[in-house]
């Protein structure tokens, strides 16, 4: 169990002078500081001492240049240091890490302009560089620092554990296994496997030296070598599979990250296809309209032509009637003239009275004036004119043109709507999406899935070949045991191989069982912590997945699929506490402003639960986040020390014990 005792910062960030914080053994220490006073720098003080690295709140590495106190740096003092006093594994340690400008560099800017030195004293004795590296790696590996040194941003990442395909989720799951001690078992299993292989080689060599088992020993050696080659090949494919899976996850994450953009890209593509079709239709309609408009000049004349035609038809009618009148008049005139000349009616043959003769004479006179011969060419002329004008009597093409116009307008509106949307997508939404990246990721994904298929098939074949070879080897081992007789050397090698093989199998099983038990215990402890921290009484607890992701479970047993960022923090803290309870590597927790997303009820619940998370907790908060009086009320027994970060200037903070 690791314990922090003292942190000494000199010329480090806003800590211009030498500032000291003492941490009581066990309980909670709270450091109050307003924004920009140096709370994150304190967290970084631990990181720098232990790992030589510092991070911003967005978890990006911070440059050394930004780490040295700016006021002192301006005066030419570029030397910053952090000293951490701690204990663990039965020893006391004093760890000192110093950062300074390289000799000859007066104005260091780049990280390469600085030199970093690290010293570790164990129980008062200075360790060498290799020992220092070894001890720090054993006591606090950087890979698991996220469970000891964290802020709200880091807590938010734990949701990734629920996405089994997530790259970050995999990294966190690996770190969880690391803190839980799984790699110790896994590594031991791998080393035992190597030792088994070496023992098999030695057993084969011993068998070859014995005349009665030379042939069998040679075959055994060959079979082992072949089996080893197959296993190495399998390992290469397994490594390739891991790489491919990483590439698959990266491509899927890229696609997912750009999912909205990808959907918009699809929409833009669909719209572009529709626009192309609409433009095709528009062209057809425009051509049809053009054809109609080629005859349009006729429409201007059409009303006049219609009038003229109507008039001409009447004129023609009248001309024809006049012609008939002339013909009939002439015939009547001839008849009357003959009757008058013969004094006898030519119609009835009766003689004419004088009065009748006078009337006929008058009628003849009238008829002679009325039936003056008219122009015989009028009717043909009118007919020719009518024949010429009648083709101009067009059907109603205006309605056709109007319909075409309307369709064209509708098409133009549809095209315009789509063009506008495409422009919107390309100018706004798509600006947030790297189209090339999406296309590359899709191509990559297809390629990776194809390669994965090949690798999986190959692994299947190799597994069958290895199984068969191991059966052959086991049979040979039995034959060797029977044939070896009193060969002491062979017996010794065989025994060594058997013990190592048993150990390997034990550790193989151990990895599975230990992981299974850990998941059960982490789920149980995280659920207990979660229930003590959540304000929702309808939640029964948490359910763990294979990647240590935790889902909130309702009291009716159903999972709660969506959770707020506040709930995410509560779940993450529950996981932290459960890991601390079950991890071989236990230690202090330093939390920087972890209550930002929490309501008052959750905040109080979490503060009350802090002593349950681990033995030693350091809380870095501002007073509005956690009122000191409230902290006293919530942690009556466990609040062991309080400090305040006092502003001297914008670039100078002092630490005062409250």
């Amino acid at each position: 169990m690791l314990q922090f005792h003292r942190l000494i910062l000199t010329n480090f960030g806003p800590y211009k002078d030498t500032e000291v914080i003492e941490f009581p053994v066990g309980g909670v220490t709270i450091v109050y500081g307003e924004n920009m006073r140096g709370k994150t720098t304190l967290l970084n003080g631990f990181r720098f001492a232990l790992f030589g690295t510092v991070l911003t709140r967005s978890l990006r590495p911070l440059h050394y240049h930004d780490l040295v106190n700016w006021e002192n740096a301006a005066l030419g003092n570029h030397k910053a240091s952090v000293e951490l006093w701690f204990s663990g594994h039965g020893h006391s340690y004093r760890l000192t890490r110093i950062l300074d400008a390289k000799p000859g560099i007066d104005n260091p800017i780049a990280d390469t302009d600085y030199i970093q030195q690290c010293f570790l004293e164990q129980d008062g004795a200075m360790l060498n560089e290799a020992q220092t590296h070894h001890i720090l790696a054993v006591l606090m590996p950087e890979e698991i620092s996220r469970f000891f040194l964290f802020d709200g941003e880091l807590l938010q990442q734990y949701e990734e554990l629920l996405r089994q395909e997530s790259k970050m989720g995999q990294e966190i799951a690996d770190a969880i296994e690391r803190i839980l001690g799984v790699p110790v078992l896994k590594k031991a299993r791998s080393i035992l496997n190597l030792l088994v292989q070496e023992a098999q080689v030695a057993e084969g060599a011993a068998a070859r030296r014995n005349k009665s088992t030379t042939k069998l020993g040679t075959e055994y050696g060959q079979a082992n070598a072949e089996c080893q080659a197959l296993k190495e090949e399998r390992q290469r494919y397994l490594t390739a599979r891991v790489d491919l899976q990483k590439r698959q996850r990266a491509a899927e994450e890229t696609i997912q990250r750009n999912q909205q953009g990808a959907a918009l890209l699809d929409e833009a593509r669909r719209l572009e296809g529709e626009v192309a079709q609409l433009r095709g239709k528009l062209l057809e309609q425009q051509n049809a309209l053009k054809a109609e408009m080629a005859e349009a000049w006729k429409w201007i004349l059409a009303p006049r032509v219609a009038e003229a035609v109507a008039r001409m038809r009447k004129d023609l009618q009248r001309a024809r009637e006049a012609q008939l009148d002339v013909v009939y008049g002439k015939k009547l005139l001839d008849l009357l003239q003959a009757s008058l000349a013969l004094n006898e009616c030519q119609a009835c043959g009766q003689g004419l009275a004088v009065s009748s003769q006078e009337r006929i004479a008058l009628e003849i006179q009238n008829l002679q004036s009325a039936t003056s011969p008219n122009d015989p060419t009028i009717v043909p002329k009118l007919q020719r004119l009518l024949d010429a004008l009648e083709p101009f009597q067009l059907a109603d093409r205006l309605s056709v043109v109007s319909s075409l116009r309307s369709q064209i307008d509708s098409l133009l509106v549809q095209i315009n709507d789509r063009d506008t949307r495409i422009r919107e997508i390309k100018s706004e939404e798509m600006a947030r999406v790297n189209q090339g990246e999406i296309l590359d990721a899709r191509q990559e994904l297809n390629s990776v899935l194809m390669e994965l298929g090949v690798v999986e098939e190959k692994l299947k074949v190799l597994a069958e070949q290895i199984d068969k070879k191991e059966v052959d080897i086991a049979a040979m081992q039995q034959k060797l045991a029977a044939a070896a007789g009193a060969d002491e050397r062979l017996a010794k090698e065989r025994r060594r191989r058997e013990v190592l093989q048993s150990l390997y199998e034990l550790f193989e099983e151990g990895v599975k069982l230990y992981k299974h038990r850990l998941r059960e215990r982490v789920e149980r402890d995280a659920s207990e912590l979660f229930r003590s921290m959540t304000s929702e009484s309808d939640y029964r607890g948490l359910q763990i997945n294979d990647h240590y992701g935790l889902t909130i479970v309702h009291k009716d047993g159903s999972p709660i699929p969506v959770r707020s960022s506040g709930a995410e923090h509560v779940v993450a803290l529950s996981l932290m506490g459960a890991l601390q309870r079950n991890a071989p590597m236990r230690g202090p927790v330093v939390m920087d402003s972890p209550f930002g997303r929490l309501d008052d009820v959750h905040k109080k619940n979490i503060v009350r639960a802090l002593p349950q998370l681990t033995d030693q907790v350091m809380l870095l908060v501002f007073e509005a986040e956690l009122n000191p009086r409230l902290a006293h009320d919530l942690l009556p027994q466990h609040l062991k020390a309080e400090y305040a970060l006092e502003r001297i200037s914008a670039r100078h903070t002092q630490i005062r014990k409250s």
């Binding site: 030792l195 070496e198 034990l506």
Partner: protein, 63 residues
Amino acid sequence: MDDLKDLLEVLDELRQSKAPHLPQALVEEIIRIQSEWHDDDTEAKRRIGAAVQRILDQEGAAG
């Protein structure tokens, strides 16, 4: 080794049921070495190999 208590319990449970002929002390020794030398595979392998050999030598001496 106290930190690895849970892990050792799991291994001991398995050992008793599946490989009782293996000494628990050897299993614990392997875990201790691996825990101490997790950043140096060569040294971890050498030490684990030597631990196994010591047990075999003791077996041999005991006849």
